[in-house]
Point group: C2
Chain length 178, copies 2
Amino acid sequence: MANEKKMDVVILGLLSHEPMTGYEIKKIIDNQLKYFWSGSFGSIYPTLNFLESEKAIEKVENEVTGRGKITYAITDVGRQKLKMWLDNPVSKDELKYESLLKLFFGGELGKESVLRQIGNFEEKISKELAMLQFFEKNLESSLNEDEDHLYFLLTVRFGIETYKAHLKWCKDAKNMLK
Amino acid sequence: MANEKKMDVVILGLLSHEPMTGYEIKKIIDNQLKYFWSGSFGSIYPTLNFLESEKAIEKVENEVTGRGKITYAITDVGRQKLKMWLDNPVSKDELKYESLLKLFFGGELGKESVLRQIGNFEEKISKELAMLQFFEKNLESSLNEDEDHLYFLLTVRFGIETYKAHLKWCKDAKNMLK
DNA sequence: CTTACCATGTAAGGCGTTACATGATTCA
DNA sequence: TGAATCATGTAACGCCTTACATGGTAAG
């Protein structure tokens, strides 16, 4: 019922690459997945505990860091769970684009306001695009280091293509309104 | 706290165009907004009641339809509420692209599986694109009938540009994997 | 010695989905 | 007369976000 939980497979997916702490998981979500996924600490840590109780992940013996750091690694049970989700062809893509919603209802406020909305959107997207292009470069040069880098590169390129399309649209839209 | 409710402004925005029933609101969300927004009956009807209690919308005298149909119209209070939201430059765009997530973790299953994921995605997008292009035609020919049609056309074009970028990416990605 | 960041967690609560319930109307 | 669609609504449930709480560590 309600929404289906996905944080578990997100974590499993990230840990299938290498062992990590919850904090590191959050960083990756915010940096690499941010343009097609999101998640907060309040969702990550409880899921981590849940997955451990399920024996899908396990704590890794910590180096003598002394810190309260907890590193997790995926188990065979976890790998199987991940595979099951990956094998399922059904994928729900959910978008809630408030920017577009405001544009859709823009008639109420008039052109100047809509132009402002588009400007805000354009600025946001431009920044993201620059970051993605930076990632792209890094990934291109390290493509043979790790097989997974190919898939990361593909998602980054997806973001780049999408954002370019958005920026093109911003230009066209501004012209149409003027 | 938690997520900010948006269904109220969605309904207000749709009613600012013309009076409607909850059922009609649902249809518009599913047809015109679907590629950047979504919403269910379980969210629409309670919000409708809430907005009426707030006097942001009101029941319209029904024709002698006899049916249990309830048509709502926006009030001045509602228009003001809508304007306040539209005036606010902050917009949260939230995407949960399960398709991309599966791709990002695709290393676990290998190329064939990823190619299948991309194929599924491509098919889905192609269908949506065809529909959007149909909408575009209709809107282009009725552009001078209603001022709002301009804004609808812009959002439809946003969808078209975005989906075209996605399809281009699908092609590139398949080539890279082969 | 203070600022920024690393690091983990809990509590409260909203939001919206899915599933269920109910019945009218239209059309073949 | 049966199926599809129109039409409104409620109940349960769960995900996730925000905000709060707490403390360690590194660097300047």
